[in-house]
């Protein structure tokens, strides 16, 4: 009995179809239901943004481009750039030390990383700002003495609030960057170093042309994480009253009590910076995966392709894909093809 059934069904499945078979996709009803609920909740929230007057969009608009806010924004960006660039340069040196065969350099880097990952960044900034209390004068003089200076400056004139924050953030960032870069370097196959050495490539070429570009593939995602984090991390500057973005809006709402609208000003600016950085990250990562994977098309390319495909389908369903439509989609496709390369 069973045997007969099996024979039958096999017969049916191998039967030559008269037309190409139609494929019916599985429908995911559960997913549809969950999506509908989520969309409803989002709509409700968006509606409240408009309807709820406490958000104070008027105040938001008034301050979004105000001088104080833009100055704060500039300060935030400036501190981010300094600490990220400085941090990654020092971090690269530390990573190389950590990987070197010299026990001394290794230990120096290990202790540096240990120290700066241990001390909270707030404490560090405060110490730099108040360094004048520990060391009233900085300069060049006879070692281990305190009275003979070739030249020196009062510490407080060197370590302004800006310098204290910039130095603190940079040294802090260097410790974290060092570990990220080291992780990237050790992820590169040892055969690469052997091949480079066998060719007699100088150390510098080996590191910058062979190892680092390959390490970059695993360094970049974590690295951009650090940059995005640092944009907000600069808000530690409030501890020495340095007006970056967040401190600036705090000062303003301290005066006018419009807390929510001004926090929104800061949040939206942060979101804009993060968005820009995310896009930059996407393209930088693409650049560094050259040659190692078949790159998927960019989202812009995919969006254009989807629109043209949809256009095509609509034309077909009408039963009359007009020549005008076809030629238009063709041009779009060829244009995006070029872009994807």
């Amino acid at each position: 009995m069973t045997q007969v059934t099996i024979e039958r069904s096999a017969e049916i499945e191998t039967e030559e179809p008269t037309e190409p078979l139609k494929v019916v996709r599985v429908r995911h009803w559960g997913r549809w239901a969950v999506s509908a609920v989520i969309i409803l909740l989002i709509a409700q929230f968006l509606w409240s943004l408009v309807a709820n007057e406490k958000y104070g969009w008027g105040t938001f608009g008034e301050y979004f481009f105000s001088d104080a806010v833009l100055d704060g924004l500039l300060m935030t960006l400036w501190l981010t750039v300094i600490s990220i660039v400085g941090g990654f340069i020092i971090g690269t040196v530390l990573a190389v030390f950590r990987l070197s065969s010299s026990t001394l350099l290794n230990a120096v880097a290990w202790w540096y990383i240990w120290f700066f990952r241990s001390v909270p960044i707030l404490v560090q900034v405060l110490v730099w700002y108040n360094l004048g209390y520990l060391y009233p004068r900085l300069g060049l003089g006879t070692p281990f003495t305190d009275d003979f200076w070739i030249f020196s400056f009062p510490t407080t004139s060197l370590l302004t609030a800006f310098a204290a924050v910039a130095i603190g953030l940079t040294l802090h960032q260097a410790a974290y960057s060092a570990e990220i870069i080291r992780g990237g370097i050790v992820s590169v196959d040892a055969g690469q170093t052997h091949a480079a050495a066998a060719l007699g490539l100088p150390r510098r070429v080996r590191f910058f042309r062979i190892i680092l570009p390959q390490a970059a593939r695993s360094i970049l995602p974590a690295g951009f994480n650090e940059i995005v984090g640092q944009v907000k991390g600069t808000s530690v500057a409030f501890i020495v009253a340095l007006p970056e973005l967040f401190y600036s809006v705090q000062v303003i709402y301290g005066r006018n009590q419009q807390i929510i609208p001004l926090l929104l000003v800061a949040v939206v600016w942060y979101a804009i910076i993060t968005t820009v950085l995310s896009v930059v990250q996407y393209y930088v990562e693409r650049r560094f995966s050259r040659g190692t994977v078949d790159l998927p098309p960019t989202p812009i390319y995919r969006a254009k392709k989807q629109i043209t495909d949809l256009w095509h389908r609509l034309g077909e369903e009408d039963g009359k894909a007009s020549p005008a439509v076809t030629s238009q989609t063709d041009t779009v496709t060829s244009y995006t093809d070029k872009e994807s390369v």
Binding site: L199, P202, G291, T292
Partner: protein
């Protein structure tokens, strides 16, 4: 495939090659307590093709890597044309050379790896030009021209492909072209076809066979017994870091004197 190389004397109407002599004498190396090379002595004449066979773990790779000073050793000496790669001899002492000098001398010896080790972030052409350009042997333009000629010589036509876009056989041929870019006097091959699919082995062996005819000294570690018999002037059998038997391919690969060689050949054939 024919090879035309203007940089080398034509083997047909010219005298025997004069450069590329490798002398290994009483070489001993330890990894910790493990003696990987045990009093190895071997002289390879200019232009000679020597194959090294032996079981896995017997020290073949280590031996090759000591020849171009990628590995240090504990006793003995290795010279190429009478000069140490990593040391300078003054009187009775060997002085370790500075890195720049080692790199320059190492360029006389090319090494081709089992798993190619091409630089994946560089195109085939860039893989070949990076060494001559960064060692200031050639300008970028000259190096590019040379790369094109070398690629043609190993039978490749698309110079702008990245390694990941090439088959294993093509990658290994680019790796050989890369090793040739510095005009080495000696070329070392460490199991150049072991990582290849069977149908790709022949194309790589073809390239090596052509090199064997133009007068470069070749030292080839291989499990391709048939190939070794065909191209080699001499075959060396190593086991446990020692040279067990050495002689013409007909002897070592067909009628080995040493029972251990016979045992090994019986197993791999």
């Amino acid at each position: 495939m024919t090879i035309i190389d203007s940089n080398r004397p034509d083997p047909v109407d010219d005298a025997a090659p004069t450069v590329g002599k490798v002398e290994i004498s009483h070489l001993t190396k330890y990894y910790g307590a493990n003696r990987v090379l045990d009093d190895v002595s071997l002289t390879v004449e200019p232009g000679e093709v020597v194959s090294i066979v032996g079981p896995s773990g017997s020290g073949k790779s280590t031996l090759l890597r000591t020849i171009n000073h990628l590995e240090t050793f504990d006793a003995g000496s290795v010279t190429v044309d009478g000069r140490y790669i990593g040391y300078e001899r003054r009187g009775d002492t060997l002085h370790e050379l500075r890195e720049a000098e080692v790199l320059k001398r190492r360029a006389q010896v090319g090494l081709v790896f089992q798993n190619f080790n091409l630089f994946p972030n560089l195109t085939a052409r860039e893989n070949i030009t990076i060494a001559p350009v960064s060692l200031k042997r050639l300008s970028q333009v000259e190096a590019d021209q040379r790369a094109m000629a070398l690629l043609q010589r190993v039978g490749l036509h698309d110079s702008e492909k990245y390694p990941a876009q090439l088959s294993g056989g093509q990658q290994q041929r680019v790796a050989i072209a890369r090793a040739l870019a510095l005009d080495p006097k000696v070329l070392l091959f460490d199991e150049p076809t072991s990582a290849l699919d069977p149908e790709l082995v022949a194309e790589v062996l073809d390239v090596i066979r052509d090199l064997a005819t133009v007068g470069t000294t070749l030292i080839i570690v291989t499990h391709e017994i048939g190939f070794a018999r065909e191209v080699s002037d001499r075959v060396v059998f190593v086991e446990d870091g020692r040279i067990i038997e050495i002689g013409p391919p007909e002897q070592v690969l067909r009628n080995p004197i040493n029972p251990r060689t016979r045992d090994f050949i019986g197993r791999v054939l």
